[in-house]
Symmetry: C2
Subunit: 232 residues, 2 copies
DNA sequence: ACAAAAGTGTTGACGTTACACCCATGG
DNA sequence: CCATGGGTGTAACGTCAACACTTTTGT
């Protein structure tokens, strides 16, 4: 068979080509209690007792990759406004005895408090991960790196923080995701210069220290900042 | 069936899941004659007479995605040092009557003069593309965008240019890929500051204008510049 | 002499980093 | 009065964009 035409299954016996399984696996990062978490469920595979896995499912012939990812998360009402982004396709030789599986990883970052789990799904702190299926660990790592890059080249936080929030809270979100300490003054300057914050002229209440001013996002300006540019 | 465990084909009748085809399609950009090209071959599908397509093949059960991409290009000796990078997985509903196909796009950028085509493969200028299979056009566009971003955050050119080259040639490479005009002085500054060029103290010969100085890349320093950093 | 491309510096705007002190609140 | 975190300004530096004239060669 010609190598270059084999990609067209209508050449030869097409059924010979349709022997793979494709799954989507969702790495849903959640922000809750000032902690970065990820959504997992316990594995039922006997050979991986005690392991957890990413929510996912095999892709059905009549759906697209992204709609399969959506379907996996659909039972969770709070995910209705979810933006899933494809990150990478992982292929492993003979992961399963019956044939080969290709897993396409999607990720998102949501407000965990607004996404109550159902079934056996649970939020797990990224800092205290349980054992994962090995290839799921790789997917999670790759998606986490993607998340970190995402955070660097555009603002995040809308949908994650309460409507009114302090700059401390916002900075802590960034520090947690990037896993670094940031300078408070520079962080403030950066955000004020972005011009996406609205000063509510309100203060925190009942905190055991000087109360912080509260802000909200200016949704319109926030969206503008998420557009990418192709400077040289 | 439980949505979340369906990703494990060992649950239930596993064979039910292995009905997909996965292909890799390679978007190989080539630089030759001061032109950016892409490697294509004519489609043999009757319903797409005259269309060209990307070289690709279905993934076999005993290989990984990247090794499948490698295999597709293996007949081309000059590709032996090739760095293929995965870009995106494309899934389409019922692209073929027999079942669904997921195509994983890989890309690379090579010296087209050192990669002579064989069979029906041909280099096509990006500026004068023939008709492509519709989904291949989408893959090409996505990979081209990836290439442009790649060019922005690290140096390219080693392996693409002759060993000795002028800054005009290098700048033209960048201008072609980014599809913009660049300021000559700023471009020079940028590259000299990167400290990856070695001045050969030689000049062009037999050009109908003032001859340009010739440079080569400092391979070691060049490699250092390709490492990414995660600044905030 | 002319055409064609090579080579060269400065300035201003902007973003990033580093860094130290006083302020407001609750306990 | 103490502990905790809130809030503020400035200087050094690097990067980037904009911009014009002189030099060297071949014809």
């Amino acid at each position: 068979m010609n190598t270059y035409t084999a990609a067209n299954p209508s050449t030869g016996d097409a059924r010979e080509h349709f022997k793979m399984a494709v799954s989507v696996d969702c790495v849903i990062f959640g922000w809750e209690d000032e902690t970065l978490k990820v959504l997992l469920l316990p594995s039922l595979e006997p050979e991986h007792q005690g392991c957890w896995m990413l929510p996912g499912d095999t892709v059905q012939p009549e759906e697209t990759l992204s709609s399969a990812a959506w379907r996996v998360l659909a039972p969770h009402a709070a995910f209705s406004g979810l933006e899933l982004e494809q990150v990478h396709a992982f292929g492993t030789v003979h992961r399963h005895p019956v044939g080969s599986l290709v897993s396409v990883a999607y990720y998102s970052l949501v407000n965990a408090a607004q996404a109550p789990f159902k079934g056996t799904l649970r939020w797990h702190s990224l800092k205290r991960l349980p054992n994962l299926l090995p290839y799921h660990k790789e997917m999670l790592d790759t998606c986490y790196r993607r998340l970190q890059h995402k955070v660097i080249d555009g603002p995040i936080g809308i949908d994650l923080l309460p409507e009114k929030f302090s700059l401390r809270t916002l900075q802590h979100l960034y520090e947690t995701i990037l896993d670094v300490k940031l300078d408070r003054r520079n962080f403030r300057k950066k955000f004020f210069n972005m011009d996406i914050l609205v000063d509510l002229n309100e203060e925190e209440d009942s905190v055991p220290h000087r109360p912080a001013r509260l802000y909200k996002f200016d949704a319109g300006k926030y969206d503008l900042r998420t557009k990418k540019t192709l400077g040289f």
